[in-house]
Every structure is written in structure tokens, then in C-alpha cells.
Amino acid sequence: MSEATIAAPTAGGVPKVSKISETIIRIAGNSQDGIQAIGGFLARLAGRSEQEVMTFMTIPSTISGGPSIFQVRIGSGEVLSSGDDADVLLAFYQHSYEDHISSLKKGGIVLYDSDHVDPKPEWEKDYHHVGVPISGLTVEAIGGTAKDKGKNIFTLGLVAKMFDLNVAKLTQLVSERFTGKDTSVLNNALAAFHAGYSHSLGNVLETFQFVESQKKDGQQVVMNGNEALAYGLIAAGVRFGAGYPITPWSDVMEILRRELPKYGGMFIQCEDEIASISMALGGSYAGRVSVTGSSGPGISLKTEALGWAVMAEMPLVICDIQRGGPSTGMPTNVEQSDLNIAVFGGHGDSPRVVIAPANVEDCFYTAIEAVNIAREYSVPVIILSDQAIATRIEAFTEPNLEKVCQDISPDLTPVLDHKPYDLSVASGVTHHRAPGTKIQSGKYPIATGLEHDELGHPTGSPKLHMQMVSKRRKKLQVLAAKLPTPALYGPSEGNVLLVGWGSTQGPLKEAVDRARTAGDSVSSIHIKHLNPLPPGLEDIFAGFNHVFVVEMNDEGIYGYGQLAGLLRARYCDPKIRGITKTDGLTFKVKEILERAKSNVAAGLRKL
């Protein structure tokens, strides 16, 4: 959006219309005001208009409500992050206004509910203030109290007017949302929308129109990361799982619970996380890769069973939707501080696979990849998602479901003989045969957590332990060799390489774009496969003077975050350093760039 939004009004008070390619709107209110719904409608509209969209929200961790925001960034071009500073702030209350004005660009518009907000004169010179008695006008339009019903839709109407949004598509979305309910609910919603849309924006100096979207790659779908993950698991053929509720994982299990019966599957709510992983392992043992998941506290509980999965070589998918930790921590904030437990959590040498989706679309495909790695290598696979990706909405190209969906039904074909832990296989990769499989030799396998021989029977033999430990490790080395080297974003040589993983991909790419526009030599890579690491990273690192690993976790005792620690251990390269933070919020582009600059200025630290 144009930097200087405060333009002179055109003659006759008719607002001028500016063409824009993207905008960032921050909606601030209380969680019960339905502000997520406004954001959701805008995101969905963007999806239907071949635009890109990314949202960001905070919700209070108490159910009774409290301050909440929803930020939506819509663009006709590529949208990589939910944006640093907003172009427009919609403020429902005095606290929304005061707490969020600083996230508005200088010269941006603050559209406030004048029934609740007293604007501060000292801010009026920096931000363009537009007061609308939103609460009163909503009551006028639909009657009753506008306390929590309708004023969000009224506001949506205002936004539609301000950005010349497609009214037909929006009212269609509103209608779809409220069908099935009492018709008066829909009528009220539409009345509120039209009242907002036809409200004179009075002293607004400028309205906006999006330039035509460049994105023309077909039908888009709009969803959040947890939805994409759950649907990805279904597409992958997962039909059984078990879990215990915890924010922000619960909605994955809720979707699976609701959806799997349609496919002849089921998802079970267990008494705790230990039972959940155990039940899921029972499902995998029964012949079909199953899923469990949690957030940090529950992942801790699952680690003993995870060790069993490694030892018994049982495929399994474990989702960890990270939140602020340790302990109960910050349940509704984001952090990437479970990398260590994902990679190392557990006793003994227990190699497992860890992968992290980089955006909402990637959640869908990562789920499929996780299932297939688990099956192919008979290994537990942890999907490290996080609160930010779980709750943010993005539009992405609709997957070709007919092609993508796979059938992984148990294979119970009788076999002549079967060694579940056959040591003669050079790659170390063997497969489990589910109960129900007839084995002609009459020698049946035991899936076991004790160190075992090739049939799964216990052994105390040092030689067998060494062979089996190396078998379990070798599998991952074989996998590692096949992993794709992460693609560079930006040139392969330069001053600074930013390294990211998980949900920070967008802000990192945007940081590269911004830095390069400013003439700085910055590139980035995003590591999706965190354990084992993909090949070729050392060659990439060699092209740069500085390698900064950007992650949302603590700098630790030695001055770098968890992935940086892994990479330093792996590559013994002191130029790998960290850019970390623990404020529970996603990275802003300017934060990354400022930190990178000061790191470069500080030079290579003596350690």
C-alpha cells in the first residue's frame, strides 16, 4: 500500500481511489467480537479472487475472552508473511486502539468504533483517524445489542467499501457461512453487511482498489495449517489415530475425529498422551501407519513410547504443534523450542525422522511425506509444526486430490518366511508384517522394545546390540542421502545466509527481498528435513561469510538456538550463528534484518 496514505482530499469531498497491490489490515478487539470471522471472510475472498493471503492472530488463553487481534495481509502478488506494520487498524475498543496503534504504519488509517474509542489528539497527526459509531449503527441496522453479534459483519461492510471489494462474492461467502442456521441469522448478517457497506465513510480521503492479481494458477483453497495437516493425513491414507486435547493441537484431532469415520477409520480420544501414542502404535502394528500428536507437554509424555517405536521399528507419525514452553508455558503463543526434544528426546540412541512444514500448503504435503517416510523406513516421523502455522490462514493452489490421495491399507498377503529385523539387508531397511499375516515357515515375529535378534526375540549379545543399533541408524543415513538439498533463495554466494526452518520461511524470504532491494548481499535457505539433515548444506554455507540461523527459541547458554546448535555440531563451522527470539510472536522482517546487521557488525564472536 502506498507509504503516504494521508493525501489531500480531492475536490468535492469524494475520496480519491488509489490502486494498490497489497494491504495489511489489523483488526483489534476482544475474542468474542467475531474478529476472526472478519479475517476469515477476507482471507476466503482473497482465495476466491486468485489473490494471495496470509493471516496472523492472537487469542487469549482463557476462554472467557480478552483482547485478541486478527491481521490479514492480502496481495495481488506474492504474500510471504502476515506483514510487519499494518496499513489499516480496525479498533473496537480503547485498549485495542492504544495497544495496537504502534503496529500501524505512520500515515496509516485507524478506523475506530467511536462509540467506544476516544482518539488521542497527539496521534491524530501521525495516523489518519476515521471514527464510525460501529456499535450504534449495528444496533440501528439489526436491532438488539451489537455487543457480540453483527458488528463484525458491519465492519466487514466498511472494509469492503474502503477496499472496493467484490460485494457479490462477499455476500455469497456470508450466505454460505450462515446457511443451515435460522434464516433470520442470515438476514441479520446481510443487513449488517449492507449497512456497513453503504455507510458514508465521511472524512475518508482515499479508498483503494487492488490491481489485478498476477496469480493465475487455478483454483485456490483457503485454510489454516492445522486443517491442512489433518486433511494431508487423510490424503496420505491414515485411517487410525489417537490423541489427548491440548492447544494448539486439538483442532487436528477434532478434524480427524469428525472426518475419519467417513473413510471407515477412527480417531480415539484417550485418557492421556501416553495412551494416545500407545494406541496409535497399536494401530501401526495392526498394519496401517497411524497418527498421534500433541504440543510440548504431551510430546514429553510420549517419549518413552517413541523409543519403543524406534526399537521395534514401527512406523508412526507424531505431530508436534509447538507452543511456548517449557511446562505449560505460553499455550497460545508460538515458539520453535521443541526441536531438541523432537530430534533427541528419549533415552538411548533412538534415531527418528523430524520434518517441519514451512507454510500452510506445506502442512498438507508434509503430512503425506511423513506417512511415506514412516512406511518406507519403518520409523517414527515427527512433524514439527507450530502455533503460528497452525492458526494462520493461507490460500494455496488446490491439490489434485485424485492424484494425491493414496491407499495404504494393510497388506496381509501370506509370506513364506519373515524376519522383522533382517540384518542381511544392507540398507538396514526392513518392514513390519502385521498380525493376521500367515507365515508359512511357522516362525512368527515379535515387535519388541528389548534388544533383539532378527526375529524379535530378546538377546543380551553385545554383537547383536551393536548390529541392531547400527541398523536403526543406517536407515536414516540411507534416507538422508536421498533428501533434496534445500533450494537457495537468492544467489549462492554472498555476505549473509539466513537459515530458517518451519513457519519462518515467509518472513525470511521477504527479508532477503528487502535486503537485496536495499543493495545488501543476503540469501536464505529453509531446512525442512531436520533429522536427518539433507546433503549439500556445507557447500551452501561455503558460499557465505556469515550464516545466521533464525529461529523462535532461546539463544541458549552458548549463544545460539536449537537448529544452530545442531548445525554447528554437524558442520563444525563457527560462522554459523544464531538470531533467536522468545517473545512468543512470529518474526517481523525488520527484526530479522536489524539482527542480521548487528550480528555482521559484531563480527565473528570469539567463543
Binding site: G237, F240, M279, Y285, L483
Partner: protein, 313 residues
């Protein structure tokens, strides 16, 4: 977008031998069912449970591919290694949720779970309660020796007060769990008690538990000759004890009556305390499946998912 690894791995082809129809197959013999030589101490009560499990399989013509044997950790939980059939030796205390995963996803299998008193009522106590209340179809035999055998004589949740163990050298003082009461109050639908010294009775209880459509729980007294010798002498007529069967007039569907006989002092009663029909979780989930699948009848899996995606546009 889709990674090269997001492709389904190809299944290796295997030789297919068409099995005989069940009616023409000979029952599995002890020889075909024996795997590892049991590692139990000579005289351990667990031997008799194993022998009777073999008998059950033979008598009821259960095939290798129709059953699975699952256990947690403990002396008793070593069970699966001694049975020549698909089995799993899981972690301490968590055999029930693991077995539940198998039971719920594979209605074609009969799931047997064996374990000890510590495994069942201490570390696995909560799983016991929830598996019972959910009424997940399986047969569960707890080989109760009133002690921790594998870890060499610590107090177990069923150790009677006064039992001198390595962790209670002055005698245990905590109120022991009464497995019968625990099972009944947790909502188990089949609750029986037997002892390793009466083989016919053990087999009888196993058969009844297996035939029960739901969570069939048996407490089988199984003496640990190493760490709690003579614990059950009072229930063994050969040692001057009394083997009292559940009173003939006991109504197995009467929860209060079951609770009452569970209250009698050792050696108490042997037999079926409680046996009621309540829909299993397996059946309840199947019902939900059927009604959900009715709504998407004729659609392929990807088409069902497509319907969700169509709503996300």
C-alpha cells in the same frame, strides 16, 4: 510442491499360498505354538497360564493369523516371546492402550493381553480403568503374584499390608488394590478370578473371557516362588487351603452382588464375578462409521475429501 518422497512406496511381491479352509485345518499343537523356552524360574505360576493359553488356542482352533499376544513389562509380561504367533512386547504399563489400537483397527483379530499386577494396577492403573470403561474388545489376564518379580521383590499395588519387600523392609503399609473391585467399579463388563493351581478352572475362565464380547478381565493368582513363596497357599487345597467357587446363587449381572463377593477375605471366591452385555467401543465406533459412510456412499476417498475442499474455497 509435492516432494519426491511423497509417493507411495511399492510393496514387495510375496509368494501366496492359499490356506486350507478353517474346517479342514488341524488345531495348532503345543509344538507349533511354542517359541522361546520360558525364562521363568522353575515353579513360577506363570508356566501354568502359558500352558493353558496353548490349550485354549488348540481347543478353540485359533490360528496363528487370527490372534495376537500383547504384553507390557514384567516377568509375566515376557509371555509373547514364548508364544509362536504374532505378538508385541510393549512398554511397562501401557499394553492395554496398545492392544486397544490393535483391537479397534482390526476386528478380524482376537487380542490377548497378559501382564503382571504392577503393570496393570500401578504404572498402568489409569489405562486399566479407561480400557474397562470403554469396553474395548480383548481378553486380559493379569498374573497377580502380589509382588514385583522382574525387578526382584519390591512392593506391588496388590501386596497385602505387612508384606516385607525391599522397598518396605518393615512391611508394606499401603492399602492394596482389590483387582475385582477395581475392575467392577471401572466399568469392566467381564470380571473373573482364578488361580494357577487349578488348571481346569483357568482354562474355563479363559474360554468364558474370550467368548465375552467386550473387555474380558481375569485376575489369575500366579505364585512368584522366588520372591513371594506360599503367598497363595490358603487358596490351594493341596496346601491345606480352600478353593471356593463363586456361590451358585450369585447373579453375575448384579454389580452390587459382585462387589460384595469381591470383599470377602482371602482366599475369597474363584469364578465369574461379573458379566454383562454393554456395547463395546468397537461396536459403537462401527456404528458411527456406518452412519457416516452412508452419507458418502459410492464416493471414492478422494471424492470425500474433495467435498471438504470445496467448502474451503
Amino acid at each position: 510442491m509435492s516432494s519426491p518422497l511423497a509417493e507411495a512406496p511399492v510393496r514387495s511381491g510375496n509368494i501366496v499360498a492359499v490356506p486350507l479352509p478353517d474346517s479342514e485345518r488341524k488345531p495348532l499343537s503345543k509344538k507349533e505354538l511354542s517359541a522361546d523356552q520360558p525364562t521363568w524360574c522353575p515353579g513360577c505360576g506363570d508356566f501354568s497360564v502359558l500352558a493353558l493359553y496353548f490349550k485354549l488356542i488348540e481347543k478353540r482352533k485359533l490360528w496363528h493369523e487370527k490372534i495376537t499376544t500383547i504384553a507390557g513389562i514384567g516377568c509375566s509380561s515376557r509371555f509373547p516371546y514364548f508364544v509362536q504367533a504374532h505378538g508385541a512386547h510393549y512398554i511397562h504399563g501401557r499394553a492395554l492402550p496398545f492392544a486397544s489400537g490393535v483391537s479397534l483397527s482390526r476386528p478380524d483379530l482376537h487380542v490377548f493381553v497378559f501382564g503382571g499386577d504392577g503393570d496393570a494396577f500401578s504404572i498402568g492403573g489409569n489405562h486399566f480403568n479407561h480400557t474397562a470403561r470403554k469396553n474395548i474388545k480383548m481378553t486380559y489376564v493379569v498374573m497377580d503374584n502380589w509382588v514385583y518379580g522382574l525387578t526382584k521383590k519390591q512392593t506391588s499395588p496388590t501386596s497385602p499390608t505387612g508384606f516385607k519387600s525391599k522397598t518396605d523392609v518393615w512391611g508394606s503399609m499401603d492399602q492394596p488394590i482389590n483387582p475385582m473391585k477395581q475392575a467392577i467399579s471401572a466399568g469392566a463388563t467381564f470380571v473373573a478370578r482364578t488361580t494357577h493351581t487349578n488348571p481346569n478352572h483357568v482354562l474355563q475362565m479363559m474360554e468364558a473371557a474370550m467368548d465375552h464380547d467386550g473387555f474380558g478381565f481375569i485376575e489369575c493368582l500366579s505364585e512368584c516362588v522366588e520372591f513371594y513363596e506360599g503367598a497363595f497357599d490358603a487358596s490351594n487345597p493341596r496346601k491345606g487351603g480352600a478353593f471356593n467357587t463363586v456361590p451358585a446363587d450369585h447373579a453375575v449381572t448384579d454389580e452390587m452382588a459382585a462387589y460384595k463377593i469381591a470383599d470377602s477375605a482371602f482366599p475369597g471366591y474363584f469364578g465369574i464375578y461379573y458379566n454383562v452385555d454393554r456395547p463395546t467401543k468397537n461396536a459403537n465406533e462401527a456404528k458411527i462409521n456406518a452412519s457416516n459412510q452412508e452419507k458418502v456412499k459410492g464416493l471414492k476417498d478422494w471424492q470425500i475429501l474433495q467435498k471438504n475442499f470445496d467448502r474451503l474455497k
